[in-house]
């Protein structure tokens, strides 16, 4: 394989990392959350991704449970799955801060002016950073996160990437 091809293959592998593929194949917390207190739907009309995110948020503001259902590409499903893994146990305030960090990091928008976004350790979510090289896929990776934001702020809405 030529050097060029190797570089290109590496870029694809960056996007479709093992962790992403694994979460896409067997998403965590997949299904409906019956006693959800908050939910929101995220749709990407361009490619037909449709994810419904459910959260149970306690009186003290802690996210106690998170689930999702729907269909989408590997990136959007893995992102939703990783999201549920990540936000369970967080306070909504922390989750929102995390949301903002994820969005700015995925879109390559983080600047010194939003330090908070760059300081936060994204943990497993870093696996999604491969989308930076694939502008058309950033929306897929951020879909579930926008739905999280919407669910916390204005319960039971639909957010669209368009």
């Amino acid at each position: 394989m030529s050097e060029k091809n190797e570089g290109k293959a590496a870029e694809l592998r960056e996007l479709y990392r093992e962790l992403i593929l694994e979460h896409a194949r067997s998403p965590r917390h997949f299904g409906k959350l019956k006693d959800a207190t908050h939910s929101a739907e995220g749709i990407n009309p361009l490619c037909g991704d449709k994810l419904k995110m459910y959260f149970r948020i306690l009186k003290n503001g802690r996210i106690d449970a998170a689930c999702f259902e729907g269909s989408g590409c590997a990136i959007s499903v893995a992102s939703a799955s990783l999201l549920t893994d990540t936000v369970i146990g967080m306070s909504t305030a922390d989750a929102l801060q995390f949301f903002s960090a994820v969005i700015s990091r995925l879109s390559g928008r983080s600047t010194t002016s939003d330090d908070a976004d760059t300081v936060i350790d994204l943990g497993k979510i870093r696996a999604l950073e491969g989308v930076k090289e694939f502008p058309s896929r950033i929306k897929c990776a951020s879909l579930a996160w926008h739905a999280l934001n919407s669910a916390i702020h204005c319960n039971d809405q639909t957010v669209s990437t368009e």
Binding site: K8, Y16, L21, C47, G48, C73, A74
Partner: protein, 418 residues
């Protein structure tokens, strides 16, 4: 002098189809380090140099408004614009140039018919017949006019191959049906509908027929008089012309009887505050300054297609489609969507349980452009119980090597998802 009367370049007439790839400058580039393989012509086709040049020449030397000035440029622009109409008339075999209306595209053409032809006479209990495989632009305009008038939209089913049974369609043509509106070629499935049989049966019952020809004109020879179709709509950008220009062909008797679609300049003879008299055909339906450069590009594209010969183009594409289908079908884990026996230039598919969007990204990364998603035909996706498909679509500039590259890129996709 006008470039309008320039005859098609006869020397190109018998060029082998295989050579015409070189006519399309956009194809000579690399994407992500690989030579571009363009398999998305059903979404929008690329333009040959003669179309690009016709538009550029006009912009450079001949631009002015049409049907207005006494000055030289306005004459030239008008000549070019009207000669494009002649080229389109010839291209689809229309009897009169007055039957060729320039629009923004298929979508506007269908809306025009829904609003100007159907709406004034539709009422509660009337029916509009369409099929399950239509593009959204041959669904939503009818839904709107149904809402406005109380008429009912009736959907004719498709079978599992993605074809319409003409008998089923004909059975639904009762005396309340006011129009039949169907695709010539399905953009998601490639099926070619049996128009002749359907149109004859409709006319036996005095029902007019609109055909959405967006996916047909770059691939098949279309003769609106032989078809005896009442309305035929298509877009420039699917037949190597620019975007924002398209055609409504309509029989003159219909156009005469229809009120204008939009009001404004050019579509009038006389405007008085007491009342306005409309211009003659086809200008009655061309309100405002038209897309002059687009029309000129469309005329050039029609001449280009005619010079290559639609029969030869169809034969070339049929050979390629057969090869594409055979190569795809040989892949383990492929599911072909759209397997009608009579098809043109399109193959939709699913691969393992890989989402079409992921397939699209991995293919693009290897320089192969296909379309993924619902293809503006959500009811078709619902019919097959899928959110979308990957779709490879062909045009005369494609070749076997393009298909080999697609197949190799799909193997790579499977490797990544293995």
């Amino acid at each position: 002098m006008s470039h309008a009367a320039k005859a098609p370049n006869r020397s190109t007439e018998q060029r082998p189809i295989e050579d015409c790839r070189a006519d399309f400058p956009v194809l000579a580039q690399t994407i992500n380090g690989e030579p571009l393989v363009y398999l998305d012509s059903a979404a929008s086709s690329q333009a040959p140099g003669v179309v690009i040049d016709a538009v550029a020449e006009y912009q450079r030397h001949d631009h002015a408004n049409v049907h207005r000035g006494v000055h030289t440029l306005s004459h030239r622009a008008t000549d070019l614009y009207e000669s494009a109409r002649d080229a389109v008339q010839e291209f689809i075999g229309a009897g009169r140039r007055t039957e060729i209306v320039f629009t923004r595209g298929t979508t506007e053409s269908i809306n025009l018919v829904a609003q100007s032809f159907c709406r004034p006479t539709l009422g509660a209990g009337d029916r509009i017949l369409i099929t399950h495989l239509e593009h959204h632009s041959n669904i939503v305009p009818w839904q709107i006019v149904c809402e406005q008038t109380g008429a009912e939209l009736v959907i004719v089913p498709i079978d599992s191959s993605g074809q319409v049974d003409p008998q089923e369609l004909i059975e639904k043509m009762d005396d309340r049906v006011r129009i039949v509106a169907i695709a010539h070629v399905s953009n998601a499935l490639g099926s070619i509908l049996p128009l002749t049989e359907i149109i004859q049966a409709a006319h036996d019952r005095d029902i007019p027929v609109l055909v959405d020809g967006a996916q047909a004109v770059p691939h098949l020879a279309v003769d609106v008089q032989a078809l005896d179709v009442d309305f035929y709509a298509f877009s420039g950008h699917k037949m190597f012309a620019p975007t924002g220009i398209g055609i409504l062909y309509a029989k003159e008797t219909h156009l005469e009887a229809m009120p204008p679609y939009q009001g404004g300049g050019d579509m009038i003879l006389e405007v008085r505050f007491e009342g306005t008299t409309y211009n003659e055909l086809p200008y009655k339906f061309e309100a405002g300054t038209p897309n002059i450069s687009g029309a000129i590009g469309l005329g050039a594209a029609a001449r280009y297609l005619a010079s290559m010969g639609l029969e030869r183009i169809a034969a070339h594409e049929n050979r390629l489609l057969a090869y594409l289908t055979r190569r795809l079908a040989a892949i383990n884990g492929i599911r072909l969507i759209g397997t009608a026996s009579n098809k043109a230039s399109v193959q939709s598919f699913l691969l393992d349980d890989i989402h079409p969007h992921d397939i699209g990204t991995i293919l693009d990364h290897q320089g192969v452009a296909i379309r993924t998603g619902h293809h503006c035909a959500m009811p078709v996706m619902d019919f097959f119980g899928i959110p979308g498909t990957a779709r490879a679509s062909l045009a005369l500039y494609n070749n076997e090597e393009d298909i080999d590259r697609l197949i190799a890129a799909l193997a790579k996709t499977q490797e990544i998802f293995a």
